[in-house]
């Protein structure tokens, strides 16, 4: 489990670099490093389905982000450092951490199955659906409604993008 913690630390560093760096392209590349770290984390946690999906979606979004940020320079706003902001930030982070320590202590242990329905899926998936990949059996058979909702979300997103861009193309 130590390698997972090292990986999560690297991802936090990458996220900080992506926020703080001046150049937009370098920021996008640091964001990609965070995404590929997430892919490796899924692999270490033995979720290859999620790892494949995360990898290909990361590549697609990186292509679009690089295309959008190449040759673009945004003026960087300078935030004046004030002592009041600093005190507010420290108080907020301290409150957040103290509450999250209490909340995390109440969570079930890592990998512990909280609900009985999960073990029922694991036991019955092969008999009821004859699918060797149990993740497919769950998302497309037992939980088909969720996948239908996800497909609806994607459809709505595509319609929205096409509607917005078509209007601006007509004006140009």
């Amino acid at each position: 489990m130590i390698e997972l913690h090292v990986l999560l630390g690297l991802m936090i560093i990458g996220a900080i670099v992506a926020m703080e760096i001046e150049d937009l392209l370098s920021s996008v590349i640091a964001l990609g490093a965070v995404g590929f770290g997430l892919t490796l984390a899924f692999l270490l946690l033995r979720a290859p389905d999620l790892a494949i999906t995360q990898l290909v979606v990361e590549i697609l979004s990186l292509i679009i982000l690089i295309r959008a940020t190449v040759g673009v320079k945004l003026p960087r706003e300078k935030i004046r450092s004030r002592i009041g902001y600093f005190i507010f930030a420290v108080i907020f982070v301290a409150l957040f951490l103290s509450f999250s320590v209490k909340a995390i202590a109440q969570l079930p242990l890592f990998g512990d199955s909280l609900m009985r329905i999960g073990s029922q899926y694991v036991a019955e998936a092969k008999i009821k659906t004859a699918a060797a990949n149990i993740v497919s059996a769950i998302i497309l058979d037992f939980r088909g409604y969720d996948t239908l909702g996800e497909a609806t979300v994607l459809f709505t997103a595509v319609i929205g993008v096409l509607a917005v861009l078509r209007k601006s193309r007509k004006q140009a």
């Binding site: 699918a131 497309l140 058979d141 096409l162």
Partner: protein, 152 residues
């Protein structure tokens, strides 16, 4: 002088070889979604990436002569309707999303009833949807681009 479109000759030659391999790998991921990790969503994104590969290498004008946006919109709608139709097919046996087709033997290609068909429907929907988003983003002309071309 004829304007050069897309990337260099080396990239174009290599693209002609690799695009079909990427497409084949995507089809493998889709059709084996019920046996190995992957499935309709991941395979659909891989196939959309193979088309994007073509657009990036050959330039948008040449690639978009072959790949029409309206065709991909139609494919996406067909995928969504196919998924809904498979779900409605379950009503003939009792309830929504019932696995009515014969299940077959586990670990073989033609097994697990509607899951294969659902994977194919999701693959059509995801690949066509993501690629039509990419086409729309590639076609759009920003005011910045016009200013850049005039200053050249």
């Amino acid at each position: 002088m004829k304007q050069q479109q897309g990337m260099s000759l080396i990239v174009k030659r290599i693209t002609k070889i690799t695009v079909s391999l990427i497409f084949l790998f995507g089809m493998y991921i889709v059709l084996h979604g019920h046996l190995t990790p992957g499935g309709g969503f991941a395979g659909g994104v891989i196939i959309a990436l193979s088309f994007i590969h073509l657009v990036l290498a050959f330039g948008k004008e040449i690639a978009l002569q072959r790949l029409r946006e309206s065709f991909f919109s139609a494919i996406e709608s067909f995928g969504g309707l196919m998924f809904l139709g498979i779900a409605l097919l379950g009503l003939s046996g009792g309830y929504f999303f019932l696995n009515v087709l014969p299940k077959g033997v586990p670990f073989t290609l033609f097994s697990s009833g509607i899951i294969v068909l659902c994977n194919i429907a999701i693959f059509l929907k995801v690949s066509a949807g993501l690629f039509s988003i990419f086409i729309a983003l590639a076609i759009i002309r920003m005011p910045m681009d016009d200013a850049k071309e005039q200053s050249r």
